[in-house]
């Protein structure tokens, strides 16, 4: 766990996702939850995937650990984490990856922890699974982890059951468990959404601090622009299973290019005049069982044009580290010549 010295030679991305699609098949319908997502995360970098419910952000995260029900799910594309082809791993290597190289924090810490085991037992179990530690050694390490995530009276809390802890403490225990085996990649699925506002900030600050100290690459899924701006290095905005805009957090916040991102910003409280109405994006996301031809945001887009209904806009790069998928983008670039 010596994340202080980042290996500079290791410029290869920690995570590379190429053209990921995820489809859920049931008797009634096929749901296209993720439709060709590509992104990469460098070691120690925090990528926020921003999107509303049903945009495919959680599904993308779960696909990266192959946590989706295998029978009903079809995943295509490539997922590479630290050089490992995740979709091609056998069961044994997959188990080593889960919780070892990559770990995940979930939204609802009450239901995400096993109610009939103490939180200590659950961390010890993880440690013994990956690190081959003795029971005593694992307990000592669990205690260290509880101190690391700032749980008060950690010795006593180790022997608590999840229902005996407050939401914030539960999430801290969850984080301790996720960090237990020194993962190089942390996947966080709305880890602060279920918490009280004050606790949310504390957990967010804790996560940011731990991420920096331990130098983990992190993918943080949220629907909250404020949370994203707090923790992200880069933001990827997801809509209807596609990334519509991506770039460094400051750039995106200062200069959103995609109409959906602009809509998101307009619909968020961030120091507007108190009498000014917050603008909601009209309409609702498309039905993932029947995706519209063309741009999936088209039906809600204030600048929609006839061609938006014909094909999905191609990738354009307004600058070296930014990506937008909107027809208008190319236009403006041309117009500026």
């Amino acid at each position: 766990m010596d994340g202080t010295l980042m290996p500079q030679a290791d410029i290869a991305p920690l995570v590379e996702i190429e053209d990921l699609t995820v489809r859920f098949t049931s008797r009634e319908a096929t749901v296209s939850a993720v439709n060709g997502v590509s992104f990469s995360v460098k070691p120690g970098e925090v990528l926020c995937i921003l999107g509303e419910s049903g945009s495919g952000k959680s599904v993308t995260l779960r696909a990266m650990m192959r946590l989706l029900p295998e029978k009903r799910t079809t995943i295509t594309g490539r997922i590479t984490i630290a050089g490992q082809d995740v979709l091609g791993l056998n069961a044994r290597d997959l188990r080593a990856l889960r919780g070892g190289l990559v770990s995940m924090i979930f939204q609802e810490p009450m239901t995400a922890l096993d109610p009939v085991y103490t939180v200590g037992e659950q961390i010890i179990e993880t440690l013994r699974k990956h690190r081959n530690m003795s029971r005593e050694g694992a307990r000592a390490r669990a205690l260290d982890l509880f101190e690391l995530v700032k749980i008060p009276s950690p010795e006593r809390r180790l022997d608590s059951y999840p229902h005996e802890l407050s939401g914030g403490l539960r999430q801290r225990a969850m984080i301790a468990m996720a960090l237990s085996c020194g993962p190089r990649l942390l996947l966080a699925d709305e880890p602060t959404t279920a918490l009280d506002a004050t606790v949310q900030i504390q957990v967010l600050i804790l996560l940011r601090r731990l991420q920096r100290e331990l130098g983990m690459g992190t993918i943080f899924v949220t629907h909250d622009l404020g949370v994203a701006s707090e923790i992200a290095d880069r933001i990827a905005v997801m809509y209807a299973g596609r990334i519509v805009e991506e770039g460094p957090v400051a750039d995106i916040l200062a200069n959103p290019r995609h109409p959906y991102t602009q809509g998101l910003m307009a619909s968020t409280v961030h120091g507007q005049h108190r009498d000014a109405d917050i603008q909601a994006i009209p309409g609702s996301p498309p039905d993932l069982r029947r995706m519209p031809a063309g741009c999936s945001f088209g039906p809600r887009c204030p600048t929609s044009q006839p061609r938006c209904r014909e094909a999905f806009p191609p990738i354009s790069h307004p600058s070296a580290d930014r990506m937008v998928r909107c027809f208008r983008e190319g236009e403006e670039a041309k117009a500026s010549f």
């Binding site: 779960r62 650990m65 946590l67 188990r95 080593a96 990856l97 889960r98 919780g99 070892g100 770990s103 995940m104 979930f106 609802e108 239901t111 995400a112 922890l113 096993d114 109610p115 009939v116 085991y117 179990e125 993880t126 699974k129 990956h130 059951y161 229902h163 005996e164 969850m174 468990m177």
Partner: protein
């Protein structure tokens, strides 16, 4: 944990008291007059009054209850009207015969039912699940006395492999589980008796597991890198409390003996004695049997409660 044991024990007292009130009231709730069975049809009014006084039927009901309860607490349930033997001997004798049956039927039912439920619950929707669920429905739906008769026809009449009825040449007092001459009499009734609990237990275990399988924490376990075996272990512990409740109920039923199954196999167990007592309107025996069986239920529920509390910390708080 000690506090929980104490609390549950205290809870059991009013239940036991309530049950004893119901048992006592049987004398007055049952249609007909229990004295009719022992009195000659042409008994004089004096004789009736004498017998009434002898049995204490002429005193106020609360007083009768009080005297009855004091005697019952001392282990005196009175005399059987039909056999003129102490009720305690009748009831304990029949209970121990049923217990002998249960020593085979209960483990058989619990082991098979639970295992089938676990298998089905681990592969929901698969062909194993369908097979188990189908057989479980059949086990519950087939009338067990009919299955008993069919088994007798196959194994006793056709194959002549197992005896059809009774408890064997040594009688109930000398019956031993470790002697084939006796044990062979146990096999068909035990299997017949286990059939319904197997079905019920398989279904409730499967349902409990299937519900646990969809909970978030199972995803967490998978995300921790645990193998399927360890995940199933976690799920089983979570699924256990409702399964234990079902096991407790089934244990109670098995101890009550099945009137029909024990009649088919002429097994002199509690169901058999109960049915005889009903036919003879032998109220003291009915009272004694029902009270004992109810106490077994209360005790079983107590054990189930404590086991559940030992497994699930959330129950401990309640």
């Amino acid at each position: 944990m000690f506090a929980i044991i104490l609390r549950r024990l205290i809870y059991a007292i009013p239940i036991a008291l309530g049950v004893s009130v119901v048992c006592f009231s049987l004398v007055y709730l049952a249609p007909g007059d229990p004295l009719q069975t022992i009195l000659p049809a042409d008994a004089s009014a004096d004789t009736i009054a004498f017998i009434k006084h002898e049995y204490g039927f002429d005193r106020p009901i609360p007083v009768q209850f009080f005297f009855w309860l004091t005697r019952v607490l001392q282990g005196d349930f009175g005399m059987s009207i039909a056999t003129r033997r102490p009720v305690v001997d009748e009831v304990l004798g029949s209970l121990s015969n049923t217990a002998v049956l249960a020593t085979i039927a209960v483990p058989l039912a619990f082991l098979i039912g639970y295992s089938l439920g676990v298998i089905a619950g681990c592969f929901p929707g698969g062909w194993l699940d369908k097979l188990v669920t189908g057989s479980a429905v059949m086990g519950v739906s087939l009338p067990n006395y009919w299955v008993g008769i069919v088994l007798v026809i196959i194994f006793s009449v056709e194959m002549m492999a197992l005896p059809a009825t009774g408890m064997g040449p040594n009688g109930s007092t000398a019956f031993s589980l470790f002697r084939w001459a006796d044990l062979q009499y146990l096999i068909l009734p035990a299997i017949t008796l286990a059939l319904v609990p197997v079905g019920i237990l398989a279904r409730s275990t499967r349902a409990s597991l299937a519900e646990i399988r969809n909970q978030d924490f199972v995803t967490t376990l998978r995300a921790k890198g645990l193998g399927e075996g360890a995940i199933v272990r976690h799920m089983l512990k979570n699924a256990m409390p409702p399964v234990l409740a079902v096991m407790g109920l089934q244990f109670g039923y098995l101890m009550g003996g099945s009137i029909l199954v024990e009649t088919v196999f002429t097994w002199p167990g509690s169901g058999f004695v109960l049915s005889k007592a009903i036919i003879n309107r032998d109220i003291p025996v009915l009272q004694g049997s029902i009270l004992m069986l109810a106490m077994i239920f209360v005790a079983t529920n107590l054990v189930v409660d404590l086991l559940q509390a030992a497994i699930d910390p959330r129950i401990r708080r309640a």
